[in-house]
């Protein structure tokens, strides 16, 4: 079966004297339906890994395949198309656009696929209902609480039914109550079959997820899945 996301010997270097190697020979496979935590302290290469996994940045060496598509062979515009169809992003800062209602913000998730406006609105309402915001459809971001804003952002990441959702510190700007609600939403979505990768420095959050991948100094320090498999093998 095709992996939702697959990294093969990915190395990322930033130019400089000497060049900085942010990712060092990372290989990682995330299957459809998984809920994975990528955990590591700041400076561990976590953000670079997020950018490479989300095809926002290209690796210096190695292969990144999204749903079986090798992105290295694709032009920038084609990779943008892959993001539009296959990847959903949730950011710590939400990045909701001011002056736009929840529906409009969520429908931006379908904008760059060329989905007609009417269909965008219908699917956005569905996505908002799915994250429990059916009563906040017309609210602009500044009329929503932090937790509600992040749920709008999650709806935006889901609305186009991506292969996987990348959530970058999704609870980083939230109080504990909202954090709990958003994590519960992530677990619920996972149980409905959505593939989600949560990038976090918070080990408590990481440990609440089924699989943890630890990053340290640009390399994978541990992967609970591999350990399990290793245990099974012995």
């Amino acid at each position: 079966m095709t992996a939702a996301l697959e990294l093969h010997n990915v190395t990322k270097e930033f130019p400089g004297e000497p060049p900085v190697r942010a990712l060092d020979d990372v290989s990682l496979r995330i299957d459809h339906g998984e809920l994975v935590a990528v955990v590591g302290p700041s400076g561990s290469g976590k953000s670079t890994l997020l950018n490479v996994m989300g095809t926002l940045d290209r690796p210096t060496h190695g292969i990144v395949s999204v749903d079986g598509i090798d992105t290295a062979a694709r032009t920038d515009d084609e990779v943008a198309g892959i993001r539009a169809r296959k990847i959903g992003f949730v950011f710590q800062q939400f990045f909701l656009l001011p002056g736009m209602s929840a529906i409009e913000n969520v429908s931006n998730g379908l904008l760059y696929q060329g989905v007609p406006p009417r269909e965008r609105a219908a699917r956005s309402i569905e996505a908002l209902e799915r994250v429990g915001l059916g009563h906040r459809l017309q609210h602009p971001p500044n009329h929503l609480s932090g937790g509600e804003r992040q749920r709008v952002a999650v709806a935006r990441a889901l609305v186009h039914s991506p292969s996987f959702v990348l959530a970058d510190e999704p609870t980083g700007n939230l109080d504990s109550k909202s954090t709990e609600a958003v994590m519960k939403l992530i677990h619920d979505l996972h149980s409905e079959g959505t593939t989600i990768v949560v990038i976090t420095h918070d080990t408590a959050i990481a440990e609440s997820l089924p699989r943890q991948v630890a990053v340290h100094d640009g390399a994978l320090a541990s992967d609970s899945a591999r350990r399990d498999r290793a245990v099974v093998a012995t």
Binding site: L56, D57, I69, D77, G81, F95, G99, N108, Y112, P117
Partner: protein
């Protein structure tokens, strides 16, 4: 397993969405949108207003010229040696009238007398008014009209009766002739029987008090030599008539006769207005340029402020071209809003001012359409650099805000 084809992965933004996305920025920041559009609208309003007003005023002037006729020639002494005292020969009016291409000729004679409202006015206060004798056809020849009363006719011109020019009436304090009005000409009181409207083609007469020719000779010792002969000429023969007028008027000293065409002065005025219009258009263009720079400025700031949005859109699948189009559209929307506002303001200013002046309202189509297209062009130019910058921004960098 490489299944998906290129087509199915390509990112795509519908045309309607390009506009919708471009409008989202201005929509979310209404105050800023209004202010930056204002800059452009001032420029466009200035251009449209200047063109509209100059066209309206010029058409009013041209209407006036054509209603007064461009076929009036004035013949007067002066120009050669001893120009000061010279007058036309006493036969001038008769000989000019005999030119076949002359349809109508009237003369005025100088009268050596001062005019006062009454005998209590000090002698020095003549009000710069002159007294002239006129023949009875003068008003007809000049296409003039009377504001009040009537002009001199065969009977009234033999006796002390006067018709006053528009400026003269004002200076003498005569507003109407509801009751018998007398003014002092020389030593005699003379009844005012008419007040003239302005003579745009013979402004000298506005400051004159006109009396009949016979009365001038009988009461004021006026000479027979006309000062000016106003001549109406057949339309096609103006130049040829102009050539023969000096010899006809004064066969002995044709070089001392000056022939002029008063409508030339009005046409020169129209031309001078054109020069002024060009100047104002230049100012309007500068205002428009400043407005365009304002839009560029706002867009540069928007790109810096909205890095997060740019990063988000890239993560949602926007290509560089989509980002470029968005900001370009946004700049064009700002300036088109300004353009619409400017055209409305310019047209209404023209309408209000032209109406208040009694002119026909003329809005040149080129001004309105050109103003609008100019606004689009300004927006596109102003938005180009900011849009390129926005498109160049790497998504990872944009998201790092």
């Amino acid at each position: 397993m490489m299944t998906s084809s290129t087509e199915s992965t390509a990112s795509k933004l519908r045309l309607g969405d390009v506009f919708r996305v471009g409008a989202s920025g201005p929509r979310a920041r209404k105050m800023r949108t209004a202010l930056s559009a204002l800059g452009v609208s001032i420029g466009i309003a200035a251009l449209v207003g200047v063109l509209g007003l100059s066209e309206s005023s010029k058409s009013a002037l041209l209407d006036e010229i054509s209603s007064l006729g461009t076929n009036l020639l004035t013949v007067e002494a002066g120009g050669g040696f001893g120009a000061g005292d010279s007058a036309l020969p006493d036969t001038a009016l008769a000989t000019i009238s005999r030119i076949p291409t002359v349809t109508n000729a009237s003369a005025v004679w100088e009268v050596d007398a001062d005019v006062y409202r009454n005998e209590f006015i000090p002698q020095g206060e003549t009000g710069s008014l002159s007294v002239v004798a006129a023949d009875v056809e003068l008003v007809e020849t000049l296409n003039g009209e009377l504001a009040v009363g009537q002009f001199l006719d065969e009977s009234t011109s033999a006796y002390p009766n006067a018709v006053v020019g528009s400026v003269a009436a004002e200076r003498l304090g005569i507003r109407n002739l509801d009751q018998a009005t007398y003014i002092l000409i020389g030593d005699d009181y003379v009844e005012v029987i008419g007040i003239l409207e302005e003579f745009p083609l013979a402004a000298d007469l506005d400051r004159a008090v006109l009396i009949g020719k016979d009365a001038a000779i009988d009461f004021y010792d006026a000479g027979e030599n006309p000062a000016v002969v106003y001549t109406r000429v057949v339309d096609g023969a103006i130049d040829s008539t102009r050539d023969v007028l000096p010899t006809t008027a004064d066969p002995k000293n044709p070089e001392e006769v000056t022939v002029s065409r008063p409508s030339d002065a009005l046409e020169a005025q129209a031309a001078a207005d054109d020069a002024l219009t060009t100047l104002f258009l230049g100012l309007g263009a500068v205002a428009l340029l400043v407005g365009g720079i304002g839009v560029a400025n706002v867009m540069v700031i928007a790109v810096i402020e909205r890095r997060g949005e740019i990063g988000l859109r890239r993560s949602l699948g926007a290509t560089r071209a989509h980002i470029r189009r968005q900001f370009l559209t946004e700049a064009v929307i700002l300036s088109v809003l300004g353009g619409i506002g400017g055209v409305i303001v310019g047209v209404s200013a023209t309408y209000v001012y032209a109406t208040s002046q009694g002119w026909r309202v003329i809005i040149p189509q080129e001004a309105a359409v050109g103003g609008f297209l100019g606004a689009i062009a300004i927006g596109a130019i102003a938005g180009l650099y900011p849009a390129m910058r926005a498109a160049k921004l790497a998504p990872t960098e944009a998201l790092r805000s």
